[in-house]
Subunit: 168 residues, 2 copies
Amino acid sequence: MERVDRQSEEAVFTRVGEFADRDAFTAAGWCAMERSLQVVGTRSAMMLVREAFYGGRRFDDLVRRTGLAETVASKRLRQLVADGLMERTPYREPGARTRYEYVLTARGRDLFPLFVALMRWGQPAEDGVRGGVELTHAGCGATLVPAVRCEAGHDVPIGETEARIASR
Amino acid sequence: MERVDRQSEEAVFTRVGEFADRDAFTAAGWCAMERSLQVVGTRSAMMLVREAFYGGRRFDDLVRRTGLAETVASKRLRQLVADGLMERTPYREPGARTRYEYVLTARGRDLFPLFVALMRWGQPAEDGVRGGVELTHAGCGATLVPAVRCEAGHDVPIGETEARIASR
DNA sequence: CTGTATCCCAGCGGATACTG
DNA sequence: CAGTATCCGCTGGGATACAG
């Protein structure tokens, strides 16, 4: 087994330069991925976002559908609001007292591709697990799949990817 | 502020039925998202996957570039190998002794859209953070962005999404 | 119904020291 | 260079009890 063959076969990102100066950034926690994980890297956060995508709004519903303990849901929701992913707003149905609902902000809805990627990766095609939720394209009915594009609109396979130090 | 207006404005998933029978599945942990999080839901796992995408193979490099403690990296790598995301294989450079390298399996490379989604979400356009790694389309040079499609090839905006109980 | 306060446990991640 | 063993603090998450 030749090493060079496997290198090309794996098709990892092309590394520009030796990333010598990258280590400093990475060590300081200046990786965009790590910042994401600090906000949505917990199970409870993503479960609450999931239910928000499914249309859950009231605290009680979110707790029941996620299966989280109330105390965990409470703390995490407060955090999600503080981080700008959700908004807690009062509303009032006719004849009922004021209640609060949690809704995703634009920043929260931006998690859509991340959510689809997580759902898809956790459910391989040949998986024999029965039940569960399937995400589909309304009308067309086909299953959702995550994809990667560039801002110019091209589809980008993993082998055509470059990672470089952003010089801003 | 009307509630109905905000509902449509938010454009969450369309819920088919009342998800009455979904609760049982969710409670039992049969959510694809949760299964994903059990494998790659930790900071160390995603950081190691990140470095593997960047081309890191040797234990020493992975430790240095992630900034993880050796013990954490060791345990997590073993877990990633057990979970089928990475492979630990011996190789031998001419004149040197046998070493081991960690490479992503196909299952690990399937994390590509998830990785891009995490990187992108953590780096908003107006972000003033200097430096960091930017992922681009080789040749074209444009920044990578995560997208959602259906298996029929259509782009799927968040408003055209349905969530339903998979009846398998 | 919508939370909060308190206590507790398990798991993640780091520090240190040690092996082949 | 490539790990492992041990210890230890912090946080995520659950259970229970309580409040507006």
